[in-house]
């Protein structure tokens, strides 16, 4: 009896695992297959060309504007959110751990994660953008910076909640040992808490970065959707996810294939970011 149920569990688990592998594999397969026509025409130049001309009869596609837009907004969002989310996780996991105010704050941070991205987009469009325009931002407030600010707010909960939990898990013995040697609270954080929670904190930020890479709706509403390499943070641009969402509906032929190729590139970039993250974690824990 026991052996039998064990067997069933094993089969169910392997089936589930296999299914996930099949889905991931199927996705990669269809992305690769769909993007072949585009790569056949443009070659590797597709990645480095800043041309995106969908006009019939002179179609010419390059992914650089969108790769640049995606990396610029995501990196900027990560940098902007870093001080905010890091201090929040220290606040929650170290300074005010277990207090009522921490519980409320933690609830609010989790709430941020639950807000649909279209709502962030609307808020950015109607509130943040006019505010930035009043502060003198060009292009009526549309552009890379505005999109990055919205992304930064959106990824705070992802970066915060993981690092906060890891920080809270740092063994008390370690910290008490440091205190008994006369360390101040800041010194304890610098020399004990952060080093031992480092891999978890980094994992949180990688998760947040991945989220920023793929975010679509809120970015579309704020970045200006001009298919050129942004000349700076005040300029308008477009991202990989956003151009796919915008143009997929009416795309066909070479354009459709190019959009799928952008999807494949986004997939690869996300994969590389995760890989680097894993590597860093491995290096730091060993």
């Amino acid at each position: 009896m026991m052996a039998n149920s064990d067997k069933i569990t094993k089969i169910v688990l392997s089936l589930a695992a296999f299914l996930i592998m099949a889905v991931a594999g199927g996705m990669i397969y269809s992305l690769v297959e769909g993007s072949i026509p585009s790569f056949r025409v443009f070659g590797l130049n597709f990645i480095f060309s800043d041309q995106w001309d969908p006009t019939e009869s002179k179609e010419n596609y390059g992914a650089l504007p969108f790769i640049a837009g995606t990396l610029m907004t995501s990196v900027a969002a990560l940098i902007i959110s870093l001080p905010l989310s890091f201090s929040t996780s220290l606040f929650l996991g170290e300074y005010f751990r277990g207090t009522r105010v921490a519980r409320i704050l933690s609830l609010l941070v989790d709430l941020l994660a639950g807000i649909p991205s279209i709502v962030y987009g609307l808020w950015g469009f109607y509130v943040l953008r006019p505010l930035l325009t009043d502060m003198g931002l060009p292009n009526q407030g549309y552009g890379v910076l505005t999109a990055s600010l919205i992304l930064a707010i959106m990824i705070i909960p992802y970066a915060t909640s993981l690092s906060n939990e890891i920080i809270a898990m740092v063994p008390n013995d370690l910290k008490e040992a440091a205190y008994s040697l006369g360390a101040t609270r800041l010194e304890v954080i610098q020399t004990v808490t952060v080093p031992s929670a480092r891999s978890g904190i980094i994992a949180g930020y990688i998760l947040a970065f991945g989220r920023a890479l793929g975010e679509t709706m809120a970015v579309t509403m704020l970045i200006g959707n001009s298919n050129v390499v942004p000349s700076g943070f005040f300029s308008t641009g477009n991202t990989m996810a956003s151009v796919i969402a915008n143009q997929f509906g009416e795309a066909e032929g070479l354009k459709l294939s190019s959009l799928i190729a952008i999807g494949l590139l986004l997939f690869l970039i996300t994969g590389i970011v995760n890989g680097i993250g894993k590597l860093i974690i491995k290096k730091m824990t060993s």
């Binding site: 001309d53 969908p54 006009t55 959707n225 298919n227 477009n238 969402a245 509906g249 009416e250 354009k255």
Partner: protein, 348 residues
Amino acid sequence: MMAFILLAGCQNSGKKTGSSGQGDSPKLTAAGATFPLPFYNMVFKNYTNETSIQVTYGGVGSGGGIRSLKDQVVDFGATDAFLTDDQQKEMPAEVVHIPTCIGAVVIAYNLEGVNDLKLSDTLLEKIFLGEVTKWNDPLIKQVNPEIKLPDQAITVVYRSDGSGTTHIFSDFMSKISEKWANQVGTGKSLKWPVGMGAKGNPGVAGTISQTPGTIGYIGSEFAFAQKIQTARVQNSAGEYILPDLASISAAAKGSIPDDTRVMLTNSADSVSYPISGFTWIILYKEQAYKNRTKEQALGTVNLLDWLVSEKAQGEAAKVHYAPLPADAVIKAKAVLKGITYNGEPLLK
């Protein structure tokens, strides 16, 4: 999100077509352009009430409509841009076009205190190519001497998604400006020299209404329904025409080819609004394909015959489309009569 809608649309239509031919009244499925969606939604519902034949229309975009017809998962498709000869060749069989109503592309703007802007060919060219960048440019003043124009930058807003609206607009621009034709060209999506994109008519309209100094183009059905302020556009007779159903319908006067594949932009008629265009339903000329029953084919053709009839056309204005003029109806009926089932015409 678009992908999901598209997939859902296709799956849905595939299922429906598959389950038809059970002997009872046929269920018709179609997919395509979003531009005529309000019109189709309304008249197809009326048709169902009248005949108890169910018609499902998925607004998946013109490209999606052509793809669905190509994959033979719908009874008919719908598109704002007629199939080019090359596109015709890619289809598995000959496709015919039935015009169903006329819409237009209006120019919307956001300028404080200005409500009667006039735009000449030259102004449209220079604004949308980014050569005139300030609202108080002498060229704009010249055409609009009675308006006090602000010292403000011009922000061009265009459709970031592929769209029949963009196609009609750029077709008009290519006709009035050689420079535009060479530099930008005609298409559902373009390489824009200046400005920023917004998604769909609601996106462009929302961006313009929220952003001072903007100018952009919007589908007339949306602009009229939302009562958006629009500019007068100079037509080929030199008149500045405000878009309304009468001036849009006037664009279809004149010669229409037998296959109805014609762009109505820059019409020669002196009272016509120049950025107007047909929207079409497309279907296979030979309806006996992929195990379709004759009932299914007859149901399709009957619906389309009814769609160009006075009864359905009379409803168009309710949802802000201009009805087909008599010439166009005659041509459409002739095309419908040419549709066959195993070589035999379906309509008498």
